[in-house]
Symmetry: C2
Subunit: 398 residues, 2 copies
């Protein structure tokens, strides 16, 4: 198959590109390399020493696998180039990772809030627009997030895969319908994925585009069989307060003997998936898309849930590093239940890598191996969900 | 009150600005004058001879009413200026009309689709962001659309004001909740208003911003008591295929004796409101906003519903001009019911101007008076909802 990977230089995108190329697909990466510029902006770097994309692609070629092409392009801004690329390649599938994907980064400042909305919405808008013009039969596979559902709203109720059965009541009448799960995003970043959902809903309805939206949990793990083929193929491992997710923070802290910082009570329950399973899920999703005219297919891409404090304890048990509670920078419920339906991908053949199996490997072979590269001042989240200072009073008008 | 009107040079914005200034409020218009440039792009002009904004504002000053200030600014792009303005004025209310508002315009081409998404989402994102920084106690009043609900989905069920009672069922459990009415937008333009809703939901929850979203029907009528004070204050009347709404199209056609072109069967039912009622609704909404931390207040801003073919017949009866059916350029149900709850604004004191009272005045004093300005080639909609030509096959890859 001819597959375009938008955002193929990022954490999920890179591993997915290699996985699909290893299976013999013609893969083209489209990326504007902005994730690397965000590292520079934040003064941080991947714990693992990732290489320039050109070096990565050359190393991949040397493995003897099918080579991967690359087009440098801003998906949100370079519309004519994007449409021309879609026309030239005639892709069977387009995998869309080309979005700013960190909740804390999206909350750093007014610029970061607006950038995240601008980039993510315009990227999705451009992709859908160009598909209508250039490749209306292609299958779009988008990385969404479990965060569109919000947490803790319907206590004790299983979160279904995108749609939920509902009885609506108004003016004495009622109707039984299946609706998009009512959203409750917890950050600007998560909100952009709820906007994406409505763009997909519209384009699937109006233009019959084929769209699969994968609502992914927190991805952990670093390596896949392909990234391990050559050290120049190493995947990124983010541990900083903006891009590092909770598990990576704990791993980095454990590697240098820093207490594991748990936000609030640590009673937040989150969904997780290993990067090895992410790439497999994308492959499975590509092969099982809706037909033209069918509604958007939504699958929950996660394999297990854990409370944050239990996660910290697991790592503390393996490493002896203590757990420390700190004030929660996020605005969220202190505790939440999370029960998630994830039958679709399991039925398609996903065989999950669980934390209980893979965690020790991460502790030793990633966090431990590169511990000397850790910048200890960058581990803790500095973004705040709610403006902390009192607002400056407006100057007297007139 | 100190009130900022974003998009105050447009059709609803201009009439609202005058109405609020006439009631003694300190009004500042913010506009980038893009609506006038769209006229140039499309090669059309308002049926009524609208004046440059500076001339409008001078004429208003001469009426002896409280003068209106003006800041030329692109709300979606000039963030620093917007935040500085909010800080300087310290508004009690911000009325947000600064969005591309025509469904056919939003469907003209990939550029128009992307422009509408880009402009509308970034404008709303910037306004909310700047409010958090500069005036978190201000009340945002936004012009939404009845189109967020879609039409005909829940046949025979009254469309409530924004929220609907629902029983959700998943995994054997159920929950009774009030949710945002599940959206079903019929064009890119309408979709952007469904995105706005989620931005409001998020900022009301996370930052406690005070937001009222008015889901407006099709606005008809041209004049308000204020625009009639001086001919230089005349409001715009759009009759072209992009910006002219269905009633204006019929009025323009009637004025020149052209058959009244009804799309499809004319069985579409639409909601309507007179511009005089729009400006009054905005005033009522400003005075009845939610408190900080309360959810977004949503009101349906419409006063009556009509089937399009009945509307055509009403005008045909008054003018003798025949009705003609044509192919529907939109993708929509050929017939739909529409029963809308609009109690909130009526309870606040709205006294509607109905079509049966005001229509003849429009026929004679607007369409008839300026009939010699009608460009007959511009009346019919040229936008198509679905790409008409077969898609060019992609060139062979490799």
């Amino acid at each position: 198959m001819k597959i375009i990977i938008l955002g193929g230089d990022g954490f999920c995108g890179w591993a997915t590109s290699l996985h699909l190329a290893a299976r013999g697909h013609d893969v083209t990466i489209v990326d504007n390399l902005v994730r690397r510029r965000a590292d520079e902006e934040l003064g941080v770097q991947s714990l693992t020493p990732i290489r320039e994309l050109t070096e990565r692609l050359e190393a991949w070629r040397e493995t003897g696998n099918r080579p991967i092409a690359f087009e440098e392009m801003d998906v949100a801004k370079d519309y004519d180039a994007l449409e021309a690329l879609f026309r030239r390649i005639g892709p069977d599938a387009i995998v869309h990772f080309a979005e700013q994907r960190a909740a804390p980064y999206s909350m750093k400042s007014p610029w970061h809030k607006r950038y995240t909305v601008d980039n993510n919405v315009n990227a999705t808008s451009a992709v859908l627009c160009a598909m209508v013009e250039a490749c209306p039969d292609a299958h779009l596979v988008h990385l969404g997030t479990m965060g569109v559902y919000g947490y803790g709203k319907t206590k004790g109720m299983m979160i279904p895969e995108g749609y939920i059965d509902a009885t609506l009541r108004s003016g004495g009448a009622e109707a039984n319908v299946e609706i998009l799960y009512p959203v409750d995003p917890g950050s600007i970043y998560h909100m952009t994925k709820t906007l994406d959902q409505l763009l997909f809903l519209y384009y699937a309805k109006n233009d019959g585009l084929r769209v699969t939206d994968l609502h992914q949990g927190i991805v952990w793990g670093t390596s896949t069989p392909e990234t391990e083929l050559d050290e120049r193929l190493v995947n990124r491992f983010d541990y900083d307060g903006d891009y590092g997710t909770v598990l990576n923070r704990f791993l980095a802290q454990a590697a240098i003997g820093h207490p594991l910082t748990v936000h609030g009570t640590g009673g937040q329950t989150r969904a997780f998936i290993h990067i090895r399973d992410t790439v497999r899920c994308i492959e499975l999703a590509i092969g099982s898309g809706p037909a033209r005219g069918e509604r958007v297919k939504i699958m929950n891409q996660m394999t297990e849930t854990h409370r944050v404090r239990d996660l910290a304890q697991m790592i503390s048990d393996k490493t002896g590093v203590p757990v420390e509670l700190m004030e929660n920078p996020r605005k969220e419920a202190p505790e939440n239940e999370l029960v998630v339906a994830n039958d679709s991908l399991l039925k398609l053949g996903l065989d999950p890598t669980k934390l209980s199996q893979g965690l020790l490997d991460e502790v030793v072979n990633v966090a431990g191996r590169y511990a000397d590269r850790i910048d200890t001042g960058r581990i803790v989240c500095s973004s705040r969900w709610v403006r902390p200072e009192p607002v400056q009073p407006p100057l007297a008008a007139e």
